[in-house]
Amino acid sequence: MKKLLFVLVLTFALVLTACGGAPVEEAPVEEAPAEEAPAQEAPAEEMPSEEAPVEEMAEAFKVAVIMPSSTTDLAFSQSMFDALLAIQEEMGGEAAMEIAYSEGMFKVDDAAAAIRDYAAEGFNLVIAHGSQYGSSLQEIAPDFPETSFAWGTTLNTFSEEGINNVFAYEANSQEGGYVNGVIAASLSEAGVIGVVGPIEAGDASLYVKGFVAGAEAVNADVTVNINWIGSFSDVALAAEAANTHVAAGADVLTGTAQMVVGAVGVAEASGVLWFGTQSSQTSLAADVVVANQVYDWTVALDEMIALIKEGTYGGTAYTITLDNGGIVMDYNGAYDLPADVKAAADAAVEGIKDGSIVIPVE
């Protein structure tokens, strides 16, 4: 009996690992194999989550962010954290704006508790950075009408449900994906490109659709092999997926979500080119990274903060795009990009901005 029970536990652990990530929207959910969030069990050292409020000034604007992975994931979570730091700098440092964060919140229950705590502590803006946090937010937001919440990536502000203190934000990741695809197909000599993705949904799915469209616009015969590894955290499988692409003849790779660091390592070791998204991954492999689509959420955040200061706490949805400067193409200066390819990329950017290029994403 005992033995059977143990097998069940193990099976459970396996299933959890297998299905990690869950069918949420783009959400970089991390897997928690032996369910027990570190935040609950572990002593203080486990999670340096909330930064101690530095010299609290009465008028400081207080922002809290809850994110699924870490502030330094070179991907989704970092893009938001970097934007907050930029705004803080712009506003005049810690005296003007206070940032608190909870990272590694892959368990939605923990995230919900954190959201509620921050709201209760009187933060002006509480950002739930992950589409899996939506239903929690819908429950919590009405209890704190004086607090503004932001939720991404989505376009749903719950205004139809009568909630008016939630902002929404989303990225048109297919736009930078398209530009990356144009450059990738121009540089690929083999005509074979590999993509490493987490789960075919949300932001990742948009990025890959854009990438394929961009690549095919340059070279109709290009082969884009796509691997969905079913996980936002399995670095080893992401690396092996990249190895598989290289073995199948790809000389250019791209990928999205935070587990791709494994794939970037493989790209560097195999000397194949890499295209990043969400945050700049150039620092990871300066020899092979050509370009990155970088999310700059400051565009959306600036407007939210301005509205909050005027007394409007939600109701608006923001989409960052190439056109509004929320999506930025970031080129690796150390990579010598041929002028005609750069020109094609710039043309693609312009085409997307003026609407002459329409990316089919369904």
Partner: protein, 306 residues
């Protein structure tokens, strides 16, 4: 696509994927054969992976990195041994505790000491003279990095120690009937300390095989539950080194096959492809567990009663 290319690709990928599982699962096999279930493997791996990466990153010396993983693994094993042997704590729960400690501690150290994801130049591929030149087979088996060779050499070594040496006999005796072993003058505590520390060292090496040989990066929770699959592989392998090897290879090959199926555009949904290795593992696990008996004293603390 050229079928030979695909087959070579599947097999080389499978061999690489199996490497960390082998270190961790062989280590776990020693522990379980002596009657100790260690569920902290994943945490030990994470700390080992971080230690190896950090030392290799700062000193540029991969061997020092490996040594760091061994030391960290041994310390984690020592702590686990103290808790389960001396304090006689419930093994399953304390193992989970060690897992969480390793997970959180490796994250904290990563934040404090590295801050962001970095890369190292890991162990290079070493082509074995002559064998590496054999067409087909050479590319699959004999053009890998040193940590891969180590993992596969570990299997016959573990088999030999467990089945052909006095030490192995003592380990098995302690795991089957600690009272009898004790009455014959075998120190149950000492044997268990040995196997748990050895398990810790091998888990540390499993982590190092990822962070400085196969992936050459460290990221928080980079094992993502791999250590738990290693524990399952011990059951799968019926507590035998060769069985563990078979399980690790089966799991890894199915995983690399699913990666290739997606690349080759085999028309099945990626979600199904990704589930394949797990489904297969669960099926085989259920089939084998109903036939094979685990070590009788597994998870039972031993009290001399003196």
């Amino acid at each position: 696509m050229n079928p030979e290319l695909v087959i070579v690709g599947v097999l080389t990928s499978g061999i690489r994927l199996a490497t960390p599982y082998l270190y961790a699962a062989i280590g776990e096999t020693f522990g379980q054969r002596s009657g100790v279930l260690n569920l902290g493997v994943d945490g030990q791996m994470l700390l080992g992976a971080f230690a190896a990466f950090y030392v290799a990153f700062t000193t540029g010396n991969l061997w020092l990195g490996l040594l760091a993983a061994i030391i960290v693994g041994a310390l984690m094993g020592l702590a686990m041994a103290f808790v389960t042997v001396n304090l006689q704590a419930v093994q399953g729960i304390s193992g989970i505790g060690f897992y969480l400690f390793g997970l959180g501690m490796s994250e904290l150290l990563f934040k404090m000491m590295l801050g962001t994801v970095e890369t190292v130049k890991g162990f290079p591929i070493v082509s074995i003279p002559f064998l590496g030149d054999i067409p087909f087979v050479g590319k699959i088996f004999f053009q890998q990095n040193i940590m891969v060779y180590g993992a596969f050499l570990l299997v016959p070594l573990a088999w030999f120690i467990l089945n052909k040496t006095t030490l192995g006999l003592k380990i098995r005796a302690v795991g089957e009937n600690p009272e009898a072993a004790d009455s014959l003058g075998v120190s149950v505590a000492r044997i268990r300390y040995f196997t748990i520390i050895l398990g810790g060292i091998l888990s540390g090496l499993a982590g190092a095989s990822m962070s400085i040989a196969l992936l050459n990066v460290f990221q928080q929770n980079m094992t993502s539950g791999l250590g738990f699959i290693a524990v399952a592989l011990v059951y799968f392998g019926a507590w035998r080194a060769w069985g563990v090897l078979a399980g690790a290879l089966l799991f890894s090959f199915v995983n690399s096959i699913q990666l290739w199926m997606q690349v080759l555009n085999v028309p099945i949904p990626s979600e199904i492809a990704v589930m394949l290795p797990y489904i297969l593992t669960i099926i085989v696990l259920v089939l084998t567990v109903s036939r094979v008996r685990p070590p009788s004293a597994l998870t039972k603390p031993f009290d001399r009663g003196d």
